[in-house]
């Protein structure tokens, strides 16, 4: 049971949240100019890193806000939490 520090509400138990997959996925646009390959990459291909992983969560049972966090997949420690639109504090270090 992770303890997630919602940037709006503070630390809460994991079951108040909904996981939304990896963050910083760029949606290719405009749709009329996106190749099948690029679109498939966007839809289906994800990193599965051993170590730091940037991901998106929503505080569904709280403020309803989506936000980002960086979690270490080795020990589930959360090393950073930041709002959508903000730059990852560890962006350079994370592959």
């Amino acid at each position: 049971m992770l303890l997630i520090d919602c940037p709006w509400c503070g630390p809460r138990n994991e079951y108040e949240f909904r996981y939304g997959g990896p963050s910083h996925i760029v949606r290719p646009e405009p749709y009329s100019a996106v190749s099948d390959t690029t679109w498939a990459q966007y839809l289906f291909y994800r990193e599965n890193p051993k170590g730091l992983h940037k991901e998106r969560w929503c505080h569904t049972a709280g403020c309803g806000q989506w936000f980002n966090l960086v979690r270490n997949t080795l020990d589930h420690s959360i090393v950073a939490v930041y709002r959508l639109g903000e730059k990852s504090p560890l962006l350079e270090k994370v592959s």
Binding site: L2, L3, N13, G20, P28, D36, W39, L43, C58, Q65
Partner: protein
């Protein structure tokens, strides 16, 4: 009735003033308050308490705590029955009725024990190998009946369990001397401390292993510490509480047993601790040698517990066998209590001079380089055979037989690292202690005392105070000390006929099984465990796992560290499922949502059913109607007169702000930009794969104010979905999303006369055709209550959906159904059938996880739309463009055919004459309006096949059907323009 004749009056913490009557296997006994069932049985001289799992061998009490492998009992009868409780953990209470989990027809005469005679033929994997032909499953039921532990309760668990949640600065697991000292030091600093112990009282094993610490008796020290902790408001003390699981971010689950006169039987705790101090002690290891499993064969430290804590003598003459010094302390304790120590066999050639002179002082004979090689006796130990260990490691053929009724063994100690390991901590194998001890923590947890391999009581106490008092001490685990163990994983039998050497008493796994497993290449400990079932019983191998690893290492010629341990998993100790479930059972398991007019529906005769977690009227049977009759009557009422349907569970979301229109245009697959104020439009939502995942109505209430509906089950999901896109993808859009499903109730009034009916409602809304056309929305008031009304249709008749604040809906329903208006209440089943006549789909019923807009008739709406929307790009992927996609069509069956089952396949003949499925029926119902069944289905290339005939394969019966366009009732939509 007999009172305990093995009872000491000058020792123990039991209350001799309060005798307690109990029964074991229907025989009456007496114990005292403070006894466990195990201590009371030993005090009554009961040695045989159980039969073993596989061979039904007679077994006795081995230990004094959670590690007990043998003494499994069932307490209570019927629904109250709780099987496989350890007698060492069951507190005695007046009227307690306990039975052995095993033994048929009686414990002392177990017919199944005949299996023991064939024991040599039944090694690990025996059943699987022997009963392979013709099929293991033929034999399995019989074999399962013969084996197994305990029986499940025969009734529903009538007990009450609760859940509790807590946060604390420091959680101390284990209330022995180390735990108490750490808790006192931590709370001294002002930390919020929770300290737990699985026993009803505090002090752990300290008083037995460390009589004094720097001049103060440990009993006194414990008493003082407990008083200090009890007086502090920042300390919470929970006895009878076991930590079961250690999860991410210092989240610990615990089980608290209440004493036996509470209304709540047990309490399941979930604790989030900033820091965890693990002071869980250590478990002693048995010695592995032939026939080591006789009743009367006990762990030396546990014997001391029975003497010192319960004032119970488990025997009269004892032989002690050991590979370390702790057994000498146990021998002295037993000796002082009046047990005659006939001999001590020490596997080491040179025990320390200190212990030797102490034994000499008490006149106890020590045999060096000696090991036990056999226990004699049937239902109790009668004699012990000792043999000398020669320099080459071989056992001398000669044995010395010593008569005794108690065998005290110590094969070393295993620190209770289970929770440390669950937390992700790494273990290392310590050569001095011959045990796995904590090395590197992965979370904020620190081990102290025996759990850290610290067996020196004085040092352990000092460390506990230091660790408790300074939260900065996190990584420097205290070095283990105070115990030197000589490896003795198994006493090699000199010949096969010496009999089996038991490693896992509870699952009847022997040293021979482990050797066999290694020989058959099950060499990884995880394989060994599953092949032999070692460590897989109720005790989870607390006494057996490390011995097994040692034996495996010996067979493979490897080091124990290389063999490693199996994964430690929760729960640490067995737990009733009822405790984990807590109050979430019966109606509380998955609570149904009730609508505001629930009571009124029941008053109107509704038959309520569950629909997507809502309790809703299925139909309203009248005058002995059967379900089909009721549904048909309700449907005809809607088609010919007026019906009302409670649509309150409909998902409702408000979308507001200057960019709300733009946002909705990107979210819906069809155009929403052109929707003008006061208009409604049906819309479908896709995910990025282009799959239709929800649909509903969008109503524009004012310039910047939209309200949309979702499917009844989809409101939460759609809300989260909309928020993700708004917040994550288009933060520049000035839009607000507010879910309002519970705020509004909705009554759908259906029928061609509704305009006239609702004009009498007394509202400020003009229901005339010119003022309120089809697919529009109006706001107004009924008697000062603000309402919204939408003129839409799902079922093919003109429908006004009247939204009122939730609490006001019963009065509206009452008005509609009163004697004057006579509107027919209509249930879910009728509405679902009515929409089927009309051909309106339900997302998730008439679509599947592949359905895209072009498959359900929205090709034109998509093509005409300008700009991007969620899922648009996926609609032009190659797979989306094929002509073989499953398309929604109508299926017409001949008159007289009952409604088809959803899922029935449509078959078409191929060129070679074979029939092949080309799709399936998605929904079907009887149409009283048309006088026959109607159906929708997903058919490959369906729209191109309209007019073709197919065969429907419905659960073995074949029907002829024709593929038709969707919708059979009022295709032109004249009814909606009424």
């Amino acid at each position: 009735m007999s009172s305990g004749k093995f009872r000491l009056t000058d020792k123990g913490a039991v209350d001799y003033n309060v005798p307690i009557n109990f029964s074991f296997n229907n025989k009456k006994y007496q114990g005292y308050r403070g006894d466990t069932l195990a201590s009371a049985l030993l005090a009554n001289g009961v040695r045989l308490v159980a039969r073993s799992f596989k061979y039904h061998r007679p077994r006795g009490i081995v230990a004094a705590g959670a590690e007990e492998p043998n003494a499994l009992v069932t307490i209570g009868v019927g629904g109250y029955a709780e099987p496989n409780l350890k007698a060492t953990q069951v507190e005695l209470f007046e009227g307690l009725e306990a039975c052995s989990s095993h033994g048929w027809p009686s414990l002392s005469f177990d017919l199944m024990a005949v299996f023991g005679l064939f024991g040599r033929f039944m090694p690990a994997g025996f059943y699987y190998k022997t009963f392979m032909w013709p099929n293991w499953h033929l034999f399995e039921p019989l074999i399962r009946k013969l084996a197994g532990l305990g029986s499940p309760p025969t009734g529903k668990d009538p007990d009450r369990y609760e859940h509790r949640y807590k946060q604390c600065d420091v959680l101390v697991i284990g209330g022995g001397l180390s735990g108490l000292a750490a808790a006192a030091a931590a709370s001294e600093q002002g930390a919020e401390v929770l300290i737990i112990d699985d026993k009803p009282d505090w002090g752990g094993a300290a008083f037995a292993v460390a009589p004094t610490i720097e001049g103060t008796s440990s009993a006194r020290l414990i008493n003082d510490l407990v008083n200090v902790l009890k007086a502090r408001s920042n300390v919470c003390m929970c006895s009878r509480t076991t930590a079961l699981g250690y999860y991410d971010h210092n989240y610990v689950s615990m089980l608290e047993h209440t004493d036996n006169n509470q209304t709540v039987k047990a309490c399941f705790w979930k604790v989030r601790a900033s820091r965890v101090i693990l002071a869980s002690g250590a478990y002693e290891r048995p010695l592995v040698f032939p026939h080591n499993d006789k009743p009367g064969s006990m762990l030396a430290g546990s014997v001391v517990q029975y003497i010192e804590k319960y004032g119970v003598l488990p025997g009269q003459i004892a032989v002690v066998a050991t590979n370390n010094d702790t057994a000498y302390e146990a021998a002295i304790s037993a000796h002082k209590a009046g047990i005659k120590i006939a001999a001590i066999a020490d596997a080491r050639p040179n025990p320390s001079q200190q212990v030797l002179s102490a034994m000499a002082e008490h006149g106890i004979r020590v045999y060096r380089s000696s090991v036990p090689t056999r226990l004699f006796g049937l239902n109790c130990v009668k004699a012990i055979q000792l043999s000398s260990l020669e320099d080459n490691g071989k056992i001398s053929a000669k044995g010395l037989k010593i008569e005794a009724d108690l065998f005290m063994m110590s094969g070393g100690w295993n620190p209770a690292v289970h929770l440390f390991s669950q937390s992700g901590g790494k273990l290392r194998f310590d050569e001095v202690q011959q045990a796995f001890i904590p090395e590197k923590a992965n979370q904020n947890i620190i081990c102290i005392g025996a759990a850290a391999g610290q067996f020196d009581a004085v040092k352990a106490f000092e460390t506990a105070v230091r660790v408790g008092g300074n939260s900065k001490v996190v990584s420097a685990l205290p070095a283990c000390s105070g115990l030197i163990v000589s490896p003795l994983w198994k006493v090699s039998a000199s010949s096969y006929n010496d009999g089996k050497s038991w490693v896992d008493f509870q699952n009847d796994v022997t040293a021979q099984d482990i050797v066999l497993a290694a020989g058959e290449s099950f060499r990884s400990v995880e394989h060994l465990k599953r092949y032999t079932t070692l460590g897989m019983a109720v005790d989870q191998g607390k006494t057996s796992n490390v011995n097994a690893i040692g034996i495996m290492a010996g067979v493979l010629g490897k080091h124990l560290a290389e063999v490693g341990t199996t994964k430690f998993r929760p729960p640490f100790d067995s737990v009733a499922i009822g405790a984990v479930v807590g109050a979430a059972r019966g109606g509380q398991f998955n609570p149904l949502r009730h609508m505001a007019a629930h009571d009124l529906h029941e008053h109107l005769g509704a038959f309520m059913k569950e629909y997507g977690r809502w309790s809703r009227p299925s139909h309203y049977p009248q005058h002995q109607e059967i379900e089909q009759e009721s549904i048909a009557r309700e449907m005809l009422a809607v088609r010919t007169k007026t019906g009302v349907f409670d649509a309150s569970p409909l998902g409702k979301i408000e979308v507001t702000g200057p960019d709300a229109g733009e946002f909705l245009n990107r979210v819906y697959a069809n155009t929403m930009k052109t929707l003008s104020v006061g208009q409604c439009r049906y819309g479908i939502m896709l995910n990025e794969n282009g799959t239709v995942f929800d649909d509903g109505i969008v109503a524009r209430l004012s310039e910047n104010h939209y309200c949309l509906t979702t499917t009844s089950g989809g409101a939460d999901e759609v809300t989260a979905w909309l928020r993700e896109w708004l917040q994550g993808e288009w933060p520049e859009l000035n839009t607000l999303i507010i879910p309002v499903t519970e705020q509004w109730s909705v009554m759908a009034v259906m029928g061609h006369q509704t305009r006239k009916l609702l004009s009498n409602l007394g509202s400020t809304i003009d229901f005339s055709k010119s003022a309120f056309p089809f697919m529009s929305v109006r706001e107004g008031k009924i008697a000062d209550v603000g309402v919204r009304v939408m003129c839409v249709s799902f079922i093919g008749e003109l429908t006004f959906e009247i939204w009122t604040p939730a609490g006001y809906v019963p009065s509206l329903l009452k008005w509609l159904c009163d004697d004057e208006n006579c509107v027919t209440p209509v249930g879910v089943e009728a509405v679902v059938a009515l929409r089927l006549e009309k051909g309106n789909l339900i997302v998730g019923v008439d679509t599947d996880g592949m359905s895209q807009p072009q498959d359900i008739g929205f090709q034109d709406a998509i093509e005409n739309k300008m700009g991007d929307f969620i899922g648009r790009r996926s609609l032009t992927r190659p797979a989306s463009l094929g002509s073989k996609r499953l398309e929604l069509v109508g299926l017409r069956v001949p008159r007289g055919v009952e409604p088809l089952q959803a899922g029935a396949h449509a078959l078409a003949k191929e060129l070679n004459g074979d029939s092949r499925s080309i799709g399936y029926v998605t929904s079907s119902a009887h149409s009283p309006t048309l006088g026959r069944s109607v159906a929708l289905g997903l058919i490959a290339g369906g729209r191109q096949r309209i007019g073709e005939r197919v065969t429907i394969f419905d659960d073995g019966t074949l029907y002829d059907a024709q593929i038709i366009a969707v919708g059979e009732y009022d295709r032109e939509g004249d009814r909606l323009r009424a």
